[in-house]
């Protein structure tokens, strides 16, 4: 069964203090790994898709990387508006496996 584990559960940083969020996964063939941001009371907002080990994607202060067992979301010089819960999800390659399997999320707080 496909599984995703995110760590830490919660992370509190000062503005400008860079850090990384971890997403460890087991999947029977990876079709894609997805990162989302979720603000309180809202639906998940898409950030990145990674398809193969070694792939990296960047957007503003965020950079996502992928290995065969885990993905990292690096946050450089974060601002208070980066505070949110960050969700990682995988989609497996088994025929008909269209669903995303999500981790529990990392709740990130950036203090000014």
């Amino acid at each position: 069964e496909d599984q995703v584990t995110q760590s830490p559960e919660a992370l509190r940083l000062q503005e400008g203090e860079s850090s990384s969020l971890n997403c460890s996964y087991t999947v029977s063939g990876l079709r894609g790994l997805f990162w989302y941001r979720q603000d309180p009371g809202k639906g998940p907002e898409f950030l990145f898709t990674l398809y193969s080990a070694g792939e990296e994607k960047e957007k503003e202060r965020l950079k996502a990387t992928l290995t065969k067992k885990e993905s990292f979301l690096h946050i450089t010089a974060p601002k208070p508006e980066d505070s949110a819960t960050y969700l990682c999800a995988v989609q497996g390659i088994i025929q008909g496996a269209q669903k995303l399997v999500f981790g529990q999320g990392t709740r990130l707080t950036i203090n000014p």
Partner: protein, 114 residues
Amino acid sequence: GAGVSQSPSNKVTEKGKDVELRCDPISGHTALYWYRQRLGQGLEFLIYFQGNSAPDKSGLPSDRFSAERTGESVSTLTIQRTQQEDSAVYLCASSLRGSGDTQYFGPGTRLTVL
């Protein structure tokens, strides 16, 4: 363009009542998904539609849950005889085709069963 929309945004019901939740996907998206998010927990897959057929219903927790979709348009998730454990945020997502495509989420419907 318009994103995924869901209605109502909030629904409070009494135990034992039936509820219907609605999802309007992004225009042109053939794949549609329902997920459930209980308080403090991750998203759980419920059902997947490709067009108006549902090839994967494996996440529906009981036969009280059902869903249908009209063509490649609106979908409704129905929960019969609601129980308190059904309280959660129900999220709908759509994607262009399916496999490997990004799933775009709506704002969700918060269901509270008293």
